[in-house]
Symmetry: C2
Subunit: 350 residues, 2 copies
């Protein structure tokens, strides 16, 4: 099995998600700046994977520091955290993971620089391991929602490639298949970056889970024909009222699912819930380069002089969402209540 | 200005819509088989353009015939019509145009073969000229619906490239702009064949009409933001109850438009209404090769072994449609009544 993220030889090793599915190659980031650029260029993508990678990036930056007193080490540490937090604005897991690293630093600032370096790497490894465990728990809760024979539409890639391993939305699929349930996945291709066409299909084919690729604009057609029974997607940030930011195109699917009475589930770790955000309208949406729309993998598909827009995410209002599958259980409406409850519970358990 | 279709030197000359926007090149079809293949390969596409091309194809086939008696000429003529009618199944304009050519033949079967050939070419040229006129009338009626400052979303290409000239949906845009109205067009890229990205943008840039390219899955995002005020699309076939077959993705947009209370208009000639089809469920939907989904302009975007589906059209039920803009006026709900009335009127006027 491939590894999305790995700590190896004092490097952060990433599977290069730009070159998939043609080539399975790995990129070694040797310093935190290379980690930051890998996140920006989307060599690694997917909210939980970005979080884990950023944590390793912070550890890597700290370990490579030549500072010989705590003040200059702290200054360098802050610079590293700032740089990594400026890579992408929408997925909250990035900020959450960096914050966890900062907390480790602050709790242990009386220790030696060497000890601090060790503790930071330990925390990053912890976040990595936790993420896989969390995904398995999401799968365990989510599989209860899946019936034998279901045809599940997913969007973008919320799989092993979007996490430390196993996946959120695809974790639910994997857990269901391991239970012996027969199901088919419809993967929306997910323009402009084609995560569905390139990554979700690749992952599922490796696991021999039946997958059919469709264009994003075919979703209504197949829903109307009764060929999609459930939708499961990931999330980049969840507001306290249950509004969900996820890959552009998710909102289209949510509206279509509602119109056809098809359950629409979001699968995400609790760390995706942003306790500072009351509703979706406050979630910042990343605007990426228009050239990602006017070209496909380097080949032009439109006149050179044409204007294009490229919002990378959209917001799905809570009323389109049937349930949010987390590692602590499935959240139901009203989400403002169920989210409050789960955040409290998670806080007590820490 | 470019010409989509032209009768030139006893050839059917077509602008090669596969090679746009990079290259503006023309293909000369020297016999009806070449015309048929040009339609199949989508060198020419768009319901009205396919109709006009097929009419020229029938004329070309007849003119090139070496038959020296009316029986063998008739047999050859039937073969030509059958071949051309098997090129694509969804757009009714194809069958409508071929039927008009057959009627000319049947009305004049007592004339000489030479006279028949002349009459057939005359009819094809008539269909061509009428189509441009019809589009201008569609524009004249449609522009009443457009306000200064509108941002109009269109899908696929229902422009000059989809017709003999001027366009249906883009004809409404052109007529509005000529009236001095300021508007912006949002062009959905229209996967898998990218007619929006490649053709609509190209046409509108030539006319200096402001156009912004978006991916199909961004429609909900911009509607929610209030950045789309109207939708106008073309049609490949319209049922007697007003259900509309159009390029895949149209139905997604119609559902989203309804959810956001945005008017959704269809612009099409009356010949697009199929009097034999009661509702959309009886309209045949063309399934094209999966490789159109798994590759983009020859470049692979998915694992080679992945399964893909490629329905080329979808059906939008009449209740999503605000109005149908025809060359005789704008049809309103209930469409079964307004369509009945317009068909009767058109019949009397013939």
């Amino acid at each position: 099995m491939f590894k999305t993220i790995e700590w190896k030889n004092n490097c952060v090793r990433l599977i290069d998600q730009i070159r998939l599915p043609e080539k399975e190659v790995y990129v070694d980031c040797r310093n935190y700046e290379e980690v930051a650029q890998a996140i920006e260029k989307m060599i690694v993508r997917g909210a939980p994977a970005i979080g884990v990678t950023a944590a390793f990036g912070v550890a890597l930056g700290a370990i490579k520091s030549k500072a010989n007193n705590i003040e200059s080490f702290k200054a360098e540490f802050d610079k590293i955290c700032t740089r990594l937090s400026l890579t992408r604005p929408t997925a909250v897991n990035l900020f959450w993971a960096i914050k966890r690293m900062e907390e480790v630093f602050n709790r242990n600032k009386n220790k030696s620089i060497d000890d601090l370096k060790k503790l930071l790497l330990k925390e990053a490894k912890e976040i990595y391991k936790e993420d896989i465990q969390i995904n398995k728990s999401i799968g365990m809760f989510g599989k209860r929602l899946i019936n034998d024979g279901d045809i599940v539409l997913t969007h973008c890639n919320a799989g092993a490639l979007a996490t430390a391993g196993f996946g959120t939305a695809l974790g639910v699929i994997r857990a269901s298949v391991r239970d012996g349930k027969k199901l088919t996945v419809f993967a929306g291709e997910t323009r402009p970056f084609l995560q569905g066409a390139r990554l979700t299909t690749w992952e599922l084919l490796k696991d021999r889970i039946p997958v059919t690729l469709i264009c994003d604009n075919m979703v209504g057609y197949f829903m109307k024909k009764g060929e999609i029974s459930k939708v499961i997607v990931g999330a980049d940030r969840i507001a306290l009222n249950g509004d969900v930011a996820n890959k552009i195109g998710t909102y289209n699917i949510a509206v279509l699912a509602k119109e056809h009475n098809i359950p629409f589930y979001v699968a995400a770790p609790i760390s995706t819930i942003d306790p500072r955000i009351k509703n979706g309208s406050s979630i910042p949406i990343e605007e990426r380069k228009p050239s990602e729309v006017t070209t496909i993998r380097g080949n032009s598909i439109a006149p050179k002089e044409v204007k294009a827009k490229n919002p990378a995410f959209d917001i799905t209002s809570n009323h389109y969402i049937t349930g949010i599958i987390t590692e602590k259980g499935i959240l139901r409406k009203p989400f403002s209540l169920s989210i409050k409850r789960i955040l409290k519970k998670s806080h007590y358990e820490r």
